[in-house]
Amino acid sequence: MDLFIQLTLTGLTNGAILALAALGFVLIYKSSDVLNFAQGEFLLVGAYVTFAMLAQFGLHWTLGMALTILIAIGLGVLVERLVLRPMIGEPIISVIMVTIGLSSLLKAIVSTIWGNLPKAFPPFIPSQPVQILGATVGADRLWAIVIAMLLLGIFTFFFRRSKEGIAMRAVADDQQAALSMGISVKKIFAWAWSIAAATAAIGGVLVANIVGVSGELANFGVRVFPVVILGGLDSIPGAIIGGVIIGLLESYTGGYIGQGLNQVLPFVVLIIILMIRPYGLFGQEIIERV
């Protein structure tokens, strides 16, 4: 029973962080139909920048985090302006290939600046063990869940209630019609990329806090795919629930069946979902009017 709770909490933590990474991915897909293969690298950049702020420049974590988020937003805008805007009107597959190029580029930049050796992440999130229902879990893992849930709640609200959020969904639906009501599609894309980069950066910090800083963090990006396919590429609640399901699934198979299988299982889920429900649990079916 203890093991079960232990695995559940681990799974929820991973799930919450996966959901954060997936959220950025969904956001970009939702507003511009682009699959961003550099999402994992955004996590990587976020973790390393925070590492630099705290461990190398010795900033207080509040200031360090604030700067990291600002840099991530800047990165998002920059990517949109320099890489994606020139690609407007090109076939979507070219844009996706560009994001693959971008992922290699970001990875290379990070390893040039910080090298390839794993580093310990400066512990600013309290990590003393906490007893929950007989299981022991690090407080940092609980914080990860809380922070992820908070952010996801804010975004859900943003998309349902705020004018900018509604405009983003409008752009996702029909760019030209959105343009005809004065919504600047370019601005919306910049927003989407900035928010995606910022959430990924926070996700990166949360993972790095648990496993340390290394190039491995980028692999988190690959694990986003089963999450978004399961939840639906264009659904925010889908990203959350997909994240939690995949997180738990990984954790249970790792704990009960054996390490190694847990790496594979999410992709088995991915294939099954693609076969039976290609738009995911919560994804939008295309509305067809007859």
Binding site: K163, I166, A167, R169, A170, A172, D173, D174, Q175, Q176, A177, A178, L179, S180, M181, G182, I183, S184, Q284, I287, R289
Partner: protein
């Protein structure tokens, strides 16, 4: 160009002027070939013409929506309230008070009706937007019943109402409607045209309607232009246009009693048209 009658064309209080504009798509396809119209403030102006005459292109040239389709105004000028606007981008033009209700309604299918309206008021900086949603519901009570429904599942008529409501949310000075009757039942079309007329009366909103349905448009318009092949071939007051033999035959489908026109007459008309334009 010939007026259908001796009355002087409607020229006082001009809000929008298209001066001999030329639009080219993809650098080679010439769609508008010296198109000129004037829209006086507070009036309803109809722009009639058959498929492919360039009516939608005209509207897109005004609202700045040509660029995403690789179209460009290469010659002439478009002036709105004394300022040249044909090089401005769409967002700028909307905030100047021109709003195009696009052909085929183009509602945001996955947003609710009310979210569609909020998106329509995107350029508004004041906080009266909420009040305006009620104003839209006042014109279209049916939208109020459907406010939380996903717009993609509304009926065609309700979607057209939503598209017009979305335009109202921006409080435009000039509202341009592109084929509002497209694919709707005749009764519904009448209802929508009535509401357009009311909006014009009660808000003083200037309206430019592009239509294939000439009869209906001449019923509400204060002045109308007839467009063929990228330019205006005829203009005048609706009552005068209704008397014009060519308009009666080719746009209103009215012929003299019992007479069936032969293809020779059509050819004759086409020749004459070339002379006119």
């Amino acid at each position: 160009m010939t007026g259908a009658d001796s009355r002087p064309p409607l020229t006082e209080g001009i809000m929008l002027t298209l001066n001999n504009i030329e639009v080219i798509y993809n650098d080679v396809i010439l769609v508008l070939k010296g198109m000129s119209i004037q829209v006086p403030e507070g009036k309803i102006v109809g722009l009639l013409g058959s498929n492919g005459a360039g009516k939608s292109t005209t509207l897109k040239a005004i609202s700045g929506l040509l660029k995403p389709e690789d179209g460009e105004v290469t010659d002439g000028s478009i002036e709105f309230l004394g300022e040249t606007i044909h090089h401005k981008d769409a967002a700028d033009i909307v905030s100047r008070g021109i709003f195009q209700v696009m052909e085929g309604r183009r509602v945001f299918e996955h947003l609710t009706a009310e979210e569609n309206l909020i998106a329509g008021g995107y350029t508004r900086r004041d906080s009266n937007a909420h009040h305006d949603i009620e104003m839209v519901y006042h014109y279209f009570p049916r939208l109020k019943e459907r406010r939380h429904q996903t717009a993609g599942y509304l009926s065609g008529g309700e979607q057209q109402m939503l598209a017009i409501g979305r335009a109202l949310m921006a409080r435009p000075k000039l509202m341009m409607l592109d084929e509002p009757s497209l694919g709707l039942a005749p009764l519904l079309v009448m209802e929508i045209f009535d509401i357009v007329k009311r909006i014009n009366k009660e808000h003083g909103t200037t309206i430019l309607i592009v239509e294939q349905n000439a009869n209906l448009t001449l019923g509400v318009a204060d002045y109308a232009y007839i467009m063929e092949n990228g330019r205006i071939v005829l203009e005048g007051y609706p009552a005068d246009l209704r008397e014009n033999a060519d308009v009666r035959e080719f746009y209103l489908g009215l012929t003299e009693v019992g007479q069936r026109k032969s293809y020779r007459d059509v050819k004759h008309y086409k020749r004459r048209k070339r002379w006119l334009s």
